[in-house]
Amino acid sequence: MGVRKALTGNHAISYAVKLVRPEVIAAYPITPQTSIVEKLSEMVESGELDSKMIRVESEHSALAACYGAALAGARAFTATSSQGLLYMHEVVHWVSRARIPMVMAIVSRTINAPWNIWPDHSDFMDQRDAGWIMAYAMDNQEALDLTVQAFKIGEDPEVYLPVMVGIEGFILGHTTMPVEIPDEELVREWLGPRRQPYVVDGGSPIGVGGLTMPEETEDIFHGIQESMEAAKKVVERVDKEYGRLFGRSYGGLTQCYRCEDADYIAVAMGAWSGDLMEAVNTLRDQGYRIGVVRIRFYRPFPHEEIWRYAGRAKGVIVFDRSISFGGWGPIFTDLVTGLAAYTDKLPALSNIVTGIAGVNITSEDFERLVKRFVEAVEKGGKPVFFEWFKKR
């Protein structure tokens, strides 16, 4: 049994890093991630955390330094948000395409211009094609647990991909919740020694990332896609092992909340999933058979599970906290594509893009939107396919 502390999301992630004790941390402060860098600096300087902290001068250098450290055999960690994540974007691709495991926390903040420090999922989603395993937490406990698990998942030879763990800035990042910190020795024993596909540390000479012809390059990239597929089982196994050892299991790639006997499924990712679950409780009391499928891992996308939970449903409503301009919400797009892999008789579908740039969405809003959707389907009509719901 671990120690219980009242921690902000940022500090929960910091304590997860302390448990893992990566050899190298390289991070650059950006609102709303700053307290991670500050907490880790404090832990390192006080001797509480025996890691090397590289106080880099930019996010691009933060991820580049982590890449170098990870190449050289170290566990490496960084954290960032928004503009910082975008600044390191070319390195985000570089790390996954080099198949080097490491972990990064994303404390979500919308993308600018204009300046805006409040949360939505746009910075996280902007990385979705890069080949990183992408997970998102609903509360601070899960943030800690996911950060620890990220090292285990990424270093599995079936996977060998870097992992990013997201939380919303301020909503989780700066909000205090009770968090249990597992036992450090037990965590390290479970993680075991670091594994990676090759290392740069003075052994026989090796070249990394040199000029490669098209066919060979394609093989390398295809390997990422195959590893993404294999990662699904690894995520599930890690979730179960963690449950056995530390007492918390979340369900794998997704969390099913009252969805087993649901006629209607609502899909969401992140902290507001909790508000959605509250709305669903209220609607259940009113007689609606609704459930929530919470996306925990966005990459690899859990289309099998969505089919399993939502295949029989009369309707699926997807809440996206980001938009692909000119298209739809990314979760909705992937979900519908995933369903089409299994059937040509799709359930009624609706995409609500909302809560953008930090607009606050409550469980009452969810209640109203879900109810409107269900009633539209029940009446035999077509629910709104896509709406950017602007709460004013």
Partner: protein
Amino acid sequence: MSQPRPKPPIPYNMRDALLPGDAACSGCPIPMGWKTVHAALGGKVIYVIPACCSSVVVGTSPGHSLNATVVHVPFAAAASVASGIAEALEKRGVTDVHVVAWAGDGGTGDIGLATLSGAVERNNNMIYIMYDNEAYMNTGIQRSSSTPKGAWTTTTPVAGKAEQKKDVAKTMIAHNIPYVATASIAYPHDFYSKLQRAKSIKGFKFIHLHAPCPVGWRFEPQYTVKMARLAVETGLWVLYEYQNGKITLSGPSRPYMDPSKRKPIEEYIKMQGRFRNITQEVLDEVRKSVELNWEWVRKFM
């Protein structure tokens, strides 16, 4: 029987530096530089190479021509990846490996300048060698901040570069790092001794290596070494070391402290097609800047 004379590192320790058959242009100075680095630093070197000619010179998968570890990195990231490698190796107790960032003038003085300054200010442990062929050669001879005034490049094709050459070594001196040196591929023994000194220091060491490019500067490939020598003999390229606030002039440059000993600048300029359209005005400016640079060197000596 007397002891057999020990084999000198140049050229004996150069022999296993490179595997023949690389993709460098005929007469390229880059492999010349590598041979000296290998002679000085030995077998366990991790080269961190950003986008530049060297990225391609080492050849195509499944092989590379340098007999060492080569880590290819994004254009601006040589100093930052090298920082990460250095810190990780130290943390893991691996102490017998040299981390060498080997980058061109573009990746160092232009796109990579902020990254460089960051690693320098943190005093991360590495030898950073900026080999200077004075343009973005790998992408086809576009101007960089290191291109000298008046030089033709594909992005300064009519009047030649209007701005003067950025002096990155001076920028490093301003950061007050443990060791800064200038070197030239024409003086491998001088470069070798600078590497020997650098490798014994912990922290950030910077070497600015002059590397004339036959293709980009428009001269016959046989003259690569001669061109680099002329740069020193005209006093244009000064070989020095900077440590603890003082500059030590290197042997090969000592004669040229005296302006009357310097070869006329025209000898260097006229041999290069890239200066074909240089105006008399710019030529006079170049001559003046050579003497101004020597004044600066003398101040720190």
